[in-house]
Symmetry: C2
Subunit: 341 residues, 2 copies
Amino acid sequence: MSELRRNLAADEWIIIAAERAKRPEDFAAEQEDRRGLPEYSPDCPFCAGNEAKTPDEKVRIPGRADGQGGSWRVRVIPNKFPALAWDNRGPGAVERRCEDWRLWMPGVGDHEVIVESPRHNVTLSTMPPQDLALVLDAYRRRYLDLDANPGNELIIIFRNYGAKAGTSLFHPHSQLIATPVVPSYVRQRVAVGMRYFDENGRCVYCVLMEGELKDQVRLVAQNDRFVAYCPYASEVPFEVWIVPRRHDASFGDILPDEITGMAVILHQVLDRIATVLGDPDYNYVIHTAPQHSGGVPYYHWHLEILPRLTTRAGFEIGSGMSINTTPPEAAAAALRGEPPP
Amino acid sequence: MSELRRNLAADEWIIIAAERAKRPEDFAAEQEDRRGLPEYSPDCPFCAGNEAKTPDEKVRIPGRADGQGGSWRVRVIPNKFPALAWDNRGPGAVERRCEDWRLWMPGVGDHEVIVESPRHNVTLSTMPPQDLALVLDAYRRRYLDLDANPGNELIIIFRNYGAKAGTSLFHPHSQLIATPVVPSYVRQRVAVGMRYFDENGRCVYCVLMEGELKDQVRLVAQNDRFVAYCPYASEVPFEVWIVPRRHDASFGDILPDEITGMAVILHQVLDRIATVLGDPDYNYVIHTAPQHSGGVPYYHWHLEILPRLTTRAGFEIGSGMSINTTPPEAAAAALRGEPPP
């Protein structure tokens, strides 16, 4: 028998329907084999040695003093085909244009690529956590820089891993898009957090994290700075949230030792996902408060990892509700290396 | 240069970024070749002759009097692995259960399959419109029957065509799910329609349809009952909406001659999509008002067709906003068989 569970942070129901659940090994058998890729690919614009194929960089984290591993470790570059770009346009470009019944505005904003390593054939789950900390620090630096432009209303940092997650480029990279509007989808989640705060005097994400720590069954990993769990109302099989213990609405406020703690737990979780599920495609997204609301008590930045093991179909598209065939309790047990509950 | 366009019916921005747009023939070249399938497949549970593989049927539209084409033309059956099922549970099953911080309820509802033809190798774009009208009438009959259960709050009828759209079963079929809750996603759209109505005294869908008829550039087809167009703020390439000219909030109110008109235009649009884009995978969904709000002036039922030509990635997942690489003006021109504008 299936059940509906309420996602208190999104005010949405999800359906847990385990009748047709696949085992982790069934998911694993369906995945692409990415082993055997070369360390350098001549056609790859992100490989060390091919820097001329990309626009001028915004950030370069230099290589090690001993010269080992090349001249840089992380680069951030503008996207060559940006979805949004300021292109020297000023604040006037964010004004809405109304023509008859059509409402539009120019596509201003920022779209950048974070190249996570000079090497083609590594990825976050195989890189040492120290290198991952450099990637997270590059996120932070770009976040703060773009946050200083008052025309940017939201900064979304995300990673598409594999073709099912929307990228055909294997070289390890993530992306950042700054939008000149607050998407309604985000505004709605902020409003849910606000209402919960007004009712209960607490941040709903703090409450959910404490609940998961108390229940234990959905925990995947934890350290002194972060908790990782498959949320009670997971939308997709093996969804994992990584949530900072310290309440803060904005990713831009991340502290140096939080970067270290996040690198460790992110590496750990991605490694478990790759091991248990056969290196599946996934997206991750850093959810953070819109600009001008960094200090609010009712939103809590966090990272959501969504493996692409199943396909969103007509019901999900039409209703906004998800049908999840793997209960998060079973997913978390598998990720911890334990038998199903 | 990209632009942001406002979807007035969802209160959301979408990004039209045509820099990396593919031509229709590029999309077509990527599609699966589904020609050469047999008329009957021994393993298919939906083929004529294999009726014993499925649960008892809810609707059977009998075959032609002359016996041509078999003993039935459309069947509706319960889904063998339902996401939601009443299973003889009464109205008490819709009560919410709160355990500590976890809010849930049993997975009650209905989940049915509409088998659209006894033949394995046809589909809506190759079936004659008269047969399609029988499918739409089966939708209507099941809608009204399930709407009579006060525990069902929303009825979603949808079609998944092809693996990218979430089905591995080729035999022509659609599905229906009745949910015991109104999804927030739907509630939000109803609220947008309500606010628009309160501000402007008009149904936003009527206003958008009139705007599209006036602008013409995004029209795909029309008849005396329905208008088909690629909406101004299309979320995905070649998205098409089929909207009844007569304002009505609920699909359950569809009139007999509207079924005929809808069958004609749906066949026409799906045929154009298959021809121009190489028979791509797609989802369609009938959007209709939640139960108890059939007569409202602020919602307008319609069908949305979403070809699965691109992949939803981290940005879309995290922001709820879409990046659409094909302007709807170009999509509509291609579907009309005209050169790009």
